[in-house]
């Protein structure tokens, strides 16, 4: 490629983080992120806000980049080992005997995406559905290696969110409504079905790249069609009631099959093939010239027609236990619907993570304040060791710790909007929100409970504003009280990862010495 205009030289900036202009931009970005951060935290935003706060704090502290990086890394190590430890005070074990904590966890994820535009009851409904669908994908009675099933999502536009629902089994699109009458007369016990993965349109694609010369009088189309009808005959003889093809079925074959009372579904698409084989036990057939082996047939139970708005669907129940389910998601318009779909996938992912690590972190900013208090206390107690391990002075180390803890607190404070201020209690170090800036004598009455809902305010408690000086203390663990359940929970795995990503990113940014901008 040629270039006709003169190339302008790159713009270079030394020590870009000391540059006022760049810092202003960072600050603006932080403000923007803060404005999107809801009361139920999202791990991506959490990471972004924490990262920017860490950069800002490191700059304000005036520490050398390398020292700040080392201190941050050391404190991250303290955080992760505390969070992973047995005696972590901001972690709760998930109880799989009740769906309540799973629903709370799902709700945090779903309500963290305001673009879905959900009301409070809608959020709860979707959270329940997400948990229901997730539980349906966990097989109950299979010993040995457990493999999770699948949630098939069907979106229906123009319906209220509360119409969304979850079914066990698979729902297939039924464009040809005229077969409905016949379906309804079908018995509901196990039916034989066949699943084709090759095209049945009458093309022979696997012959190769050579040329076929036809002499007059040879009609390959009818030869192939005859072969397809042979297949049809076998299927009829084997008493198949449902005929599904991933690709296109020749209209004549369709006609023939329907004439024999078989339900025909074509153009299934690749995505539904795996759930359908798991559901029915069928093995996809792609050979047209050999008899279909008996074991390739699958079974379904209880065919039923269901309609959602303009959609007519055939509902297939599994013959036995099966970890496949279908989630029908309804929303008022397309944009919100696609957001809802993404959120539900994310929720599914978060719920699946709980199987590997059955814990959750307290939400509502309580994990952040608690962690900040813990880090302050822990690092103060270990200051001589830390100083020698990091090779910095005590002052530098203290500055670094302060910056790190303030950054964590800043994330908690970012949850508050509308001029409310953030507080922390001096017993458990949980996060509280208060409408005014006045710290009164009778605060206990107006505060209610903390961000995650585990701690009730009491007159003997003391509070401090976030980002103000307070004597360091060891945050007390909560008494095991089964009757009090946290209102807000965050995914343990996702948040731990976000914490690590945030610190690592901040450290990378703090390590930047030179900026070269190509302005062409």
């Amino acid at each position: 490629m040629s270039r006709l205009s003169t190339k302008s030289p790159s713009r270079c900036t030394d020590l870009p983080l000391d540059n006022a202009d760049i810092c202003k931009k960072l600050d603006l970005l932080r403000q923007l992120l803060r404005s999107c951060f809801g009361s139920d935290s999202d791990c991506g935003l959490f990471a972004a806000i924490l990262c920017l706060s860490l950069i800002e704090q490191a700059k304000q502290s005036g520490l050398r980049g390398n020292v700040a990086i080392r201190v941050n890394k050391h404190l991250l190590g303290l955080c992760t080992s505390y969070l992973q430890g047995e005696d972590c005070g901001c972690k709760v074990k998930l109880d799989f005997c009740s769906s309540q904590s799973l629903i709370t966890l799902a709700r945090s994820v779903i309500s963290s995406k305001p673009t879905c535009v959900l009301t409070e009851p809608e959020t709860l409904h979707i959270s329940r559905l997400a948990v229901q669908a997730f539980l349906l994908t966990v097989p109950c009675s299979s010993p040995g290696i457990v493999s999770l099933g699948k949630i098939v999502t069907v979106s229906v536009e123009g319906h209220g969110v509360l119409n969304s629902t979850v079914f066990p089994g698979v729902l297939l699109d039924m464009p040809d409504v005229f077969t409905i009458d016949k379906v309804e007369t079908l018995p509901s016990d196990a039916l034989r079905m066949v699943l084709f993965s090759a095209s049945l349109a009458g093309d022979l694609s696997e012959l190769g790249d050579g040329i076929i010369e036809l002499h007059p009088g040879v009609d390959t189309d009818s030869q192939i069609l005859d072969q397809l009808l042979e297949l049809g005959k076998q299927v009829v003889k084997d008493e198949v009631k449902l005929f599904v093809c991933q690709k296109v079925i020749h209209p004549v074959l369709q006609q023939y099959l329907r004439g024999h009372g078989i339900i025909v579904i074509e153009r299934l698409g690749i995505t539904l093939m795996e759930p359908l084989t798991q559901l029915t036990g069928a093995q996809p057939v792609a050979t047209l010239h050999t008899t279909i082996p008996a074991k390739a047939y699958g079974r379904v139970r209880d065919l039923r027609i269901r309609t959602f708005g303009s959609k007519t669907m055939l509902h297939l129940h599994p013959p036995g236990e099966c970890a496949i389910c279908t989630m029908i998601l309804c929303h008022r318009n397309e944009t919100m619907l696609s957001e809802l779909k993404v959120v539900c996938q994310k929720t599914e992912h978060v719920l699946r993570l709980t199987l590997r690590e059955p814990s959750a972190l307290l939400g509502g900013g309580c994990t952040e304040t608690h962690l900040a208090a813990y880090i302050r206390h822990k690092s103060m107690n270990e200051i001589p060791e830390t100083v020698s391990a990091l090779g910095c002075s005590q002052t530098e180390c203290l500055l670094g710790v302060e910056g790190f803890c303030r950054s964590l607190e800043a994330v908690a404070a970012a949850l508050e909007h509308d001029g409310r201020s953030s507080l922390m209690d001096l017993t458990h170090a949980h996060h509280w929100s208060h409408p005014t800036d006045v710290l009164t004598e009778h605060m206990g009455d107006s505060l209610g409970s903390c961000g995650c809902g585990l701690v009730e305010s009491s007159p003997i408690q003391k509070w401090t504003y976030l980002n103000s000086k307070y004597p360091q203390f060891s945050p007390a663990p909560l008494s095991e009280d089964a009757s009090v359940q946290p209102h807000v929970l965050d995914s343990f795995t996702a948040k731990l990862n976000a914490l690590q990503v945030a610190v690592e990113t901040a450290n990378l940014a703090l390590d930047v010495r030179y900026l070269i901008q190509d302005v062409n």
Partner: protein
């Protein structure tokens, strides 16, 4: 007439100094990242010298030439790009100073600048010639006694030996490398991981280079980049990861072993290849002669299906339950495989298949009609693995007779984003190359090549084949595998050795290009490296220099004597008596102690680096004119033109 730009020494010094100023930002313990951004939103963050220099997209032909030299060097040794530029700039400045002071007076030149250029060129050539002749001896005498030799056997032997083992030394060597490459935060973690990887991939009885070369060659297949996770999630996993998902549902088996076969082509035979013609419905007579049934196209496709069924029947009789394929198979193949309870993995890359073949010992099937037991690999498992957002196929191998010591494992490299994982991968690759050059017998490649270059530059118009006086490179004077504490030790020691050499070698010849001057120049130029390492505090530099002075004064005399004698006896014969080697090692301990907590650097890499820099120096000083050749479109800007540089060195030199 193309525009001609005469290159003056000032230009050369300036150009290289600009490169130096960029590279310096990420050099040494206080160095950091350089961030490149484009208005398109792309951004790249790097600390790697080679990457920074490549990303600069330079226009000046001389700068491009320098970068090319750096890249050539760093692809071989995997290391030293930043130091390369630093040394080059430092040497150029010294030569410039010297040439300005004393331009070559023995000839008549049209201008002072030409005279300066000539002196500079002469100096550069002399330094190169001197280095090619003397450097290995100087290093052997002045540097090696303070280092220690890593042995591959010890490194991979046992991990739980008391005291500092060789393993620690390799790890220290790697730590220094990753520190300069990726920064301090993660260098310990990654070097440990690399050591673990190498311990797993150790072929017993083999040369270290074989193991390293194996990892180097197969790194693409051996690693999986995963974005969105902190680097601390990087880990080793048993066996091999095939970077594809199952094409058919993977059946869960409780069986102890899994049998697999590798196919390089299609399982379903193609009836017609390109260019072949199938005639249908031609004369009845012909048909009857050949086959009574072949009247329909359907018969042909039925044949391909039947043959496929035979292939599967054969595979089933061999107990195969996993098919790895280089190509995408037909729907019929997948269907029959599912019916036969086999799982298929399609479109596996060539690298991965060849690694699989090496590890499993099974030969890939080329003709599906001839699947024999030697084509069947036995695996301990074959299952899906979720890495980041992708599902891959994870296989592990049965221990075989030949590789009792090798525990096949793959590397999962995690990073914040794709750019980061990519850099970590490159750093891994280069670390392996660096180790390879550390253990590579010195002088085998670098020196031979450079001696040739020298010959061709000395007599400008002669060709490489005309090398007259250089004997075939037989004496390898430096033992491979030597390491020296990092942090400027090599430069301090060599500086001292060069100065001593200068005073001893010649007092008679006192021109600027004499042995004395050349030694001194090189010695002083070397100090740029420690100076920059301690750039955050000049006091530390002076302290370090003083410390080295005392150490050298206290130890050098007896040491070098001992070494010289040994040196002669050892190198007189071709074999290396092990006992004597151990003796030197023990004698070294006291010298080593003072810097036991610092990282390590490879002497061999440093030596190769120095030679590469000197060659680059000599070749850029041989450029004196730049001819800008223009294509039609490039007439507007001279600077933009597709510049080509020409070695128009036609002046009389010798």
């Amino acid at each position: 007439m193309p525009p001609v730009e005469r290159l003056h020494l000032d230009h050369v010094v300036q150009t290289v100094s600009v490169l130096e100023s960029v590279v310096l930002r990420s050099f040494g313990p206080e160095g950091g990242q350089v961030l490149f951004t484009r208005d398109t939103g792309q951004a790249m963050l790097s600390r790697s010298g080679a990457r920074i220099l490549t990303a600069l997209r330079l226009e000046h032909p001389l700068a491009r030439m320098v970068v090319e030299c750096v890249l050539k060097h760093s692809t071989v040794t995997g290391d030293g790009s930043k130091t390369f530029i630093l040394l080059l700039a430092s040497l150029l400045r010294m030569i410039h100073k010297m040439a300005c002071k004393e331009p070559n007076v023995s000839h008549t030149y049209t201008s002072r600048q030409t005279a300066e250029a000539s002196t500079a060129r002469h100096l550069a050539d002399n330094i190169l010639a001197f280095a090619l002749e003397e450097l290995d001896d100087l290093i052997a005498m002045g540097v090696i006694p303070y280092g220690c030799c890593l042995s591959w056997e010890d490194f991979t032997a046992k991990k739980h030996l008391p005291g500092p083992s060789n393993n620690d030394c390799v790890q220290k060597l790697l730590t220094s490398f990753f520190h300069s490459r990726l920064g301090r935060s993660h260098c310990d973690f990654i070097s440990k991981l690399t050591c673990e990887l190498l311990t797993h991939w150790k072929f017993k009885r083999d040369q270290p280079s074989l193991s390293l070369e194996f990892v180097n060659d197969n790194l693409d297949a051996l690693h999986t980049p995963v974005s969105g996770f902190p680097i601390s999630c990087s880990r080793l996993i048993e066996g091999q990861v095939i970077h594809r998902d199952f094409a058919t549902p993977c059946p869960q088996t409780e069986q102890k072993t899994v049998k697999a076969a590798v196919f390089s082509g299609y399982l379903q035979p193609k009836l017609l290849n390109a260019g072949q013609v199938l005639q249908l419905g031609c004369g009845e007579q012909w048909m009857e002669e050949n086959s009574k049934n072949n009247r329909s196209i359907v018969q042909f496709s039925a044949w391909t299906e039947r043959s496929l069924e035979c292939v599967f029947a054969n595979l089933q009789s061999l107990g195969v339950s996993v098919i790895l394929s280089a190509v995408k198979q037909s729907a019929a193949v997948l269907s029959l495989a599912a019916q036969a309870e086999m799982c298929v993995v399609e479109c596996v890359s060539e690298n991965e298949l060849s690694l699989f073949a090496q590890l499993s010992g099974a030969t890939p099937v080329s003709d599906c009609w001839m699947v024999e037991p030697e084509h069947v690999a036995t695996l301990t498992f074959c299952r899906p693995i979720l890495l980041g957002a992708h599902r891959y196929v994870h296989v592990a191998f049965n221990d075989s007779e030949e590789r009792v010591t090798v525990k096949p494992c793959s590397l999962v490299i995690c990073g914040l984003g794709e750019g980061q994982t990519d850099q970590y991968t490159c750093a891994f690759r280069d670390a392996i190359r660096m180790l390879l050059s550390t253990w590579e017998p010195m002088g085998m490649t670098a020196t031979t090549a450079s001696k040739r270059t020298l010959q061709s530059t000395k007599s400008t118009y002669s060709h490489v084949d005309q090398i007259p006086n250089v004997p075939p490179f037989q004496q390898c004077r430096l033992q491979p595998g030597y390491v020296i504490p990092a942090g400027g030790t090599f430069e301090f020691l060599l500086h001292h050795a060069l100065l001593q050499n200068g005073t001893s070698c010649s007092a008679s010849d006192d021109t600027v290009t004499s042995g004395l001057a050349v030694s001194q120049l090189l010695a002083n130029a070397l100090l740029i490296v420690p100076r920059q390492i301690y750039s955050h505090s000049p006091r530390h530099f002076l302290q370090a220099q003083a410390r080295f002075q005392t150490i050298i004064q206290n130890h050098s005399h007896p040491f070098s004597l001992v070494y010289k004698q040994e040196h002669r006896s050892i190198f007189g014969e071709s074999a290396f008596p092990l006992e004597e080697d151990k003796l030197t090692k023990q004698a070294d301990v006291s010298a080593k102690l003072f810097m036991s907590d610092s990282g390590l650097e490879s002497v061999s890499c440093k030596y190769q680096l120095l030679l590469a820099v000197l060659q680059c120096l000599s070749s850029i000083l041989h450029v004196d004119t730049v001819l800008h050749t223009h294509t039609a479109l490039h007439t507007q800007s001279r600077r933009l033109a597709n510049t080509s540089w020409e070695d128009t060195d036609d002046e009389t030199e010798d």
